[in-house]
Symmetry: C2
Subunit: 213 residues, 2 copies
DNA sequence: TTAGAAAAGGGGAAAATTCCCCTTTTTTGT
DNA sequence: ACAAAAAAGGGGAATTTTCCCCTTTTCTAA
């Protein structure tokens, strides 16, 4: 029987290596290769003739992260199915990955047998949603998740820059905008997010993974 | 040849499982059992007659974390050697674990062969320091690491409360102290930590786990 | 017990943040 | 081409943060 080819994209070498052992131990699957980040995946797919059926994709990675890599795959290799596998249990991150094309989102603390089930279902049904992911998707359909997609690009940019010791004047300078414009963005962010101080913005940005510590 | 027994303590099941596979593949080592957190380790060590030579200890875990578990081991099972294995690359955390008795601190992105080397050296020499850990220890000996142990109780308390939308006046009220006293603590924290704004304090507190999101 | 250190508190002011209400410029849909 | 909407910018002021230098109270060790 032909095995399905899996590619692992993860910057934690130890995890990736042992994950490979686990996946290889599954009857129906076989690890084709491993990439340390999104960019390495893209490079390897462009040179190697063999394309995998499934990519097990970490989300937080240096150089090119899982979101960008998944977007690239959908555009350039749409036949490859992406299964996200991350430590981050974050509603917005999960939604973002699925919007970009991930067929499911597993947390790294799942049971090994669930990984096998997930891989098989992605092959058979085209997706695999854990109960947890289903619940988040349900909520997001009803607008229960404050998704930052309703924040403008500049507001998002400010939200990141606010997580620093820069003053608003310095931030305005960096964004080539008037301090008054920045003040407007700030006010808008306060309203949309529901906070009343810069510290509130910082806390929100960090909780929602918009600012990487 | 008798193999050395290893116990894995990690709340990420998938990682733990595949790590077990890796360790079992080493000639000289054998995984005795796995615990999901420090408390489970303590329970199992108290019921099982067999004690391991080495514990591979994650740091961030629910219920009882790696620091508490390592402290318990030093007090109750000093013959067991702890090797920390974590994602967290944080100077204070590394120092804290080693102070509590860890024989080394590995990051989860090391190469699998280095894990084998580390296990072997912990058995042979009693410790294994990566270049990274050695550098941090060297720095800490020269007071180059800003360790939060030199922050007073009130300063630490303020550092937590600062991670909120409260004003300093409100914080003063909550701590039953004059706003001016709080102002003094704040100034002292700025100096000790090396920041110049409240956002700087928030970022420091979060990076160092002093404030739980 | 008594001097010195540490903790707590204060005055005052410049800088930064927050808030509200308003104008100009740019973009967009038809 | 033009009206409406969105983005950018402004005036002005209250509040909060930040900073510096100083006094009083409390703890601590000789």
């Amino acid at each position: 029987m032909k095995k399905y080819d899996v590619v692992i994209v993860d910057d934690h070498l130890l995890f990736a290596q042992s994950l490979k052992g686990l996946v290889d131990s599954f009857e129906e699957f076989n690890v084709l290769f491993h990439a340390n980040n999104g960019q390495e995946l893209v490079d390897k797919l462009n040179t190697v003739s063999n394309t995998p059926h499934i990519v097990l994709m970490d989300v937080n990675m240096p150089v090119m992260n899982g979101i960008e890599a998944t977007a690239w795959l959908r555009k350039n290799k749409p036949e490859i199915k992406v299964l996200a596998l991350s430590m981050e249990d974050d509603e917005n991150l999960i939604i973002k990955m699925i919007k970009k094309g991930a067929r499911g989102y597993l947390l790294k603390d799942i049971h090994p047998t669930e990984l096998q089930t997930a891989l098989q279902e992605v092959i058979d049904d085209g997706f695999y949603h854990t109960k947890h992911v289903s619940k988040i998707l349900q909520k997001s359909m009803h607008g229960m998740v404050k998704n930052e997609s309703q924040l403008s690009d500049n507001e998002l940019r400010l939200l990141e820059l606010v997580c620093s010791e820069k003053t608003y004047a310095e931030i305005a300078n960096e964004m080539y905008l008037s301090p008054k414009t920045i003040d407007g963005y700030r006010e808008s962010l306060f309203k949309k997010i529901g906070v009343k101080s810069r510290v509130g913005l910082v806390l929100y940005a960090i909780k929602n993974g918009l600012y990487q510590l």
